[in-house]
Symmetry: C3
Subunit: 479 residues, 3 copies
């Protein structure tokens, strides 16, 4: 049992039933060589512009991956031991080999998880690892990765090419510079890297540094923010800048989902109060800030009708659940927990106002499976503006991707979903994620064929649509 090898089986994640697997293989063959379109994610444009070799296996695979961090923490490994920086300047592990040993020696913790599925592919395909990680093989696998990372074909741009990335969308603070995107346009990269407008920190008046951010927005746009009207005006100007740089979409996370517009006076009053509070080093209280955020989100939808940016919503996550950890380590270290969200009532204002607008496209994501068949599929199955995003975060897994299709296809069909959207921070995991989705969709479609609920030619076409055409179409301004 020692030193088992690490390989990728061609039938991985396909259904076990022999009839269905045969059909699934055939469907999968039709999508396996399609280019990747990564319409939403968190890779940084600068990575591709700089095109420097990845520093080391830990910096590439472990320290920035909150999926992996949380599972190791859950088994008693400290974030210190995993090299996650502390804001108090305290010591953390700095030897990447030691960090990898923590992972390799707890490889069993990942059994059955999507993290393992993705990592296996990265290890084999990108990092040249040939052995299953374990305490025994930690050093040898580490050395294999170091060797691979030293080669030119493992640099970001070479991987971009090898991954067949046709579009890669980044996610960018509303006030961020888009210079890297501009530079990439003429850099000869064999695909587009487009920014995404993410104004969360401007829409939530309790966000750290909200006052300065708003001031900065005013400077960037030439529209000084004095009230809600000027705030929306400045946001509109900034959105136009993103559109010029190739942006296709906006993206919105929030503490509490609302799209309820306020009357103009009330909205102005809240912004004025928030600006005064910021000057005094305070913030708006949470209920007022949430009301304002709901108003501004409605306004973002209105602007989307005008400038054609697709609106993405990522609600329902309580971020920084453990406040001490959040204070010490910052965001994205594994302590974000889903919470129940009432989409039906929260989306009603925006759907009633713009749900039939020919220029509006709303893509809704969830980390709560319970709302698929009760709320999201029924809504996406009637409002032409709405598309249901791919299973997100905790739900981007083999079994959950399958349950997604099983739950939403009844009421929404395939063509009111966006097809696959990877939403990853881990550049090297992009192909693994798309591959998994294609496998699960092939398996689901194959079952429909085997149950005589769909013809094979239709399944083939649908698979290509889900993998490639629908993501492109969902992130294009509606015709």
């Amino acid at each position: 049992m020692t030193r088992p090898v690490l390989t990728l089986h061609p039938d991985r994640a396909l259904p076990t039933d022999p009839t269905v697997r045969t059909i699934a293989r055939e469907i999968l063959a039709g999508t396996q060589d399609l280019p990747l379109v990564s319409m939403h994610g968190h890779v940084e444009a600068g990575l591709l512009l700089a095109d420097e070799p990845f520093a080391d296996p830990a910096a590439l695979l472990v320290t920035p991956d909150h999926y992996l961090l949380r599972l190791l923490v859950s088994q008693g490994v400290s974030l210190d031991a995993l090299g996650v920086p502390r804001r108090d300047g305290g010591e953390v592990e700095r030897d990447p080999r030691e960090i990898w040993r923590q992972v390799a020696s707890r490889w069993h913790v990942l059994r059955g998880t999507p993290t393992r599925f993705w990592l296996e592919r990265e290890l084999v395909d990108v990092l040249g690892v040939t052995l299953r990680p374990s305490a025994q093989t930690a050093d040898e696998t580490y050395d294999q990765m170091v060797e691979a990372l030293s080669k030119p074909q493992t640099r970001p741009r070479a991987l971009f090419d090898r991954f067949q990335l046709e579009v890669l969308a980044t996610t960018d603070d509303a006030t961020a510079s888009l210079d890297a995107h501009a530079a990439l346009e003429t850099s000869g990269l064999p695909g587009r890297v487009v920014p995404t407008f993410r104004p969360d920190a401007l829409l939530d008046a309790t966000a750290p540094g909200w006052g300065q951010r708003v001031a900065r927005l005013g400077e960037l746009t030439g529209v000084p923010v004095r009230d809600a009207r000027t705030l929306v005006e400045a946001l509109a100007v900034r959105r136009a800048h993103f559109v010029e740089r190739g942006a296709l979409a906006t993206d919105h996370g929030m503490r509490s989902l609302s799209t309820r517009p306020l009357d103009a006076g009330e909205a102005d009053r809240l912004v004025v109060t928030a600006l005064r509070a910021a000057e005094a080093g305070r913030t708006l209280d949470v209920p007022d800030a949430d009301a304002l955020a709901g108003h501004l989100l409605f306004e973002m939808a209105r602007l989307s009708c005008e400038d054609g940016l697709v609106m993405q919503l990522h609600p329902g996550v309580l971020r920084g659940y453990d406040t001490q950890v959040a204070a010490l380590r910052g965001p994205d270290v594994g302590y974000d927990i889903p919470v129940a969200t009432d989409f039906v009532h929260a989306l009603r204002p925006v759907l009633e106002a713009f749900g039939h607008h020919p220029g509006f496209r709303l893509v809704v994501f969830t980390v709560d499976e319970d709302v698929y068949s009760r709320e999201l599929a029924p809504l996406a199955g009637v409002f032409p503006a709405m598309r249901l995003g791919a299973p997100w975060w905790f739900l981007d897994t083999p079994d959950s991707l399958r349950r997604f299709r099983e739950s939403v296809t009844d009421a929404a069909g395939f063509y009111n979903t966006t097809g696959f959207v990877d939403d990853t921070r881990a550049f090297c995991s992009i192909p693994a994620r798309h591959d998994l989705s294609r496998r699960i969709d092939a398996g689901f479609l194959a079952r429909l064929v085997a149950e005589h609920r769909l013809e094979l030619d239709e399944a083939h076409e649908t698979a290509v649509d889900l993998a490639y055409r629908l993501p492109l179409a969902s992130y294009a301004r509606p015709a």
Copy 2:
């Protein structure tokens, strides 16, 4: 790939596993020729009395089918283009061939949906269609349907006979005339058509025209309504009329599920207030109206103990989600969205009061799968008066019918469910819906047999019970 044929495979919707499929086929053979009992639905008695040919394919299949309308709307087709009438008298498409072209050219939107499953059977079995609908085949398939509709065997009564309908329950406003039902009794139809008492518009004091409806109820029953007591008395008299006409059940939809009785004075006060408001052209406000509706629902349960009408509840739907669409088109055009409902607390008053009453039968439906294993199966698995209705509306689908059995059988068994209830407005879809349910139940039972959790003889008997005996027994006054 052009002009693929349309056929019905004998194994459609059966499990893919070869062992399980073989057993499922055998179980299905035992139910496939059973008569249909349609214990709840929205076909109108007048359709069978008049027995006129269906007007055209669009009027039969498209314009009245909110399942189909919503999926086409979601893809950008307007309700105008689908011929759905406007209340403002505006123009809508009137050429049924054009309407069918909208459907046929978007056939891919229905992939994987139950709507497609039902339609295929209607097209092949009732309407003589031999080609898969598409832009290319739209006219030819349209002509095939027109041809079929011109034949005597496609008239309503001939279909009733061909469908082997033993009982067909209609749903009737509490103040509706039941003359068509009376006339059908002696019309030689080879089966019963029974009315169902639906008093929603009288129980909800915010319903349009509530005052006039209540006055009409007083006239019909000879019990002038002055307060809650006389309202309940008048309803009791009207229920007796329905019982005389063969009614087996009442049916109740509501904005917000409650069964909490008020004290007599408070109930009277609310009705008096509502009557005064109606005279002044206003309505009770929503919280008061909901409290009154909860009280009256409790009273309906009390009357059920006396007159033996089975009480059906259909809660948890926000109807007319888009208020502008609702104002322009009226109800049932596809804009109804499920919302979360707390069945456990809402049903407690009625279950504590009548849950063990030998004359009471409560059938509860839901469009929210999340409550199957948490709420409804545990309740139906202890209270003798309660039965769990079949998966309803958004849940009447191949995969959801299967999940229903997988979720509720543990805590409620098979015999605390009603067996299949189709609940359709589309007369021609009745056989397709029962067929699907029989297939899914056969598949579920076959899996239990293959997993050695049930013997084959038991599976056979259970399948017949679910398809035929249990619906009949569930809608008979408890012995």
Copy 3:
């Protein structure tokens, strides 16, 4: 079809797919002979100390089994007819043969339920039944059971030995005597019987007799309870007594889950008010009692960090749903209904305070499947102190055990779950429950292997961990 035999198929509850079943059989073979560790349940220590023969089949299988009672009641059998005692002294059936006839003649009601799965194994393996129960075979099967119960190998201690019980945890009121446990330690039983500290009736100031219980606690511990501080102090002393007697864990059920600590003054005030109310024959009102219970639960967690008792939570059940039944029959007769619980916010105080404490272990159970992927797996997948308990009560079923693994493994893996915990009152059902869990886990792991998501050697090891090593490790003080 008459007199079918009753046998246990070796492949029962294994997946139907031939490839997967073959792998599952192999995995199951590796766990089938492992000892049973029953880390939480409701068998009484006195049963094993007295070691008397079971009275009769009804007293063993029917009257105390709320799973079975509820299903029979749901079909119109009265609790009287099932021999369940009344508090008003009214007559109930006393002939166990008659009671068994009620069960046997309604055997079909149990089709597809876990109760049937467990009972079949008890009937065949423990009680020597060879025929499927039915009206026809009621007397013959009854006689077979009476015969079996007369034999020495069917006494409790002989069964304990035959079941290969290595640990059996009981659940004991905080003020209960642990003398039986002490006596069992030296009684030569081939395994440990350990108590579990359950202080519900002391933590909920609305519980019947709360005042006397608190006074009794004061007597037992020598710490008179005057306020919250002394109440916690007395509880700490009592916990120490449980630890001495071998206790590994505490267990907590509650009306409404909260772990929010109060400030010391507020907590003291509530206890003082509750003590005064008790003297006056009243109780604290429910909101205050729930606030106090949340505070005390937080304190129990704090004490767990010190004394190493694993904290188990069993929230989300509305007990005694029908108040008349509860008044007449007492608890545990089948009228307990799950309700939705917000674990994310309710657990936050205790997880923020102690979720990383090296001495704390929190095991959370649920009867609500909806929170597996949204709340519990994400929490257990990051906090080292937390483990997700096995599917409980309504969820301890073939299909739900499978759905549990399918829902939680993505975000929590296998190693943040406790492995199997039976939680039964029915001593003879313990092997059946462990057997079922091992079969379902074998099937789930086999599917992962067949889908090339896990290697066979890993599946073997994981199966043993889930069946044996993880329950032991989860109920040991964290290292």
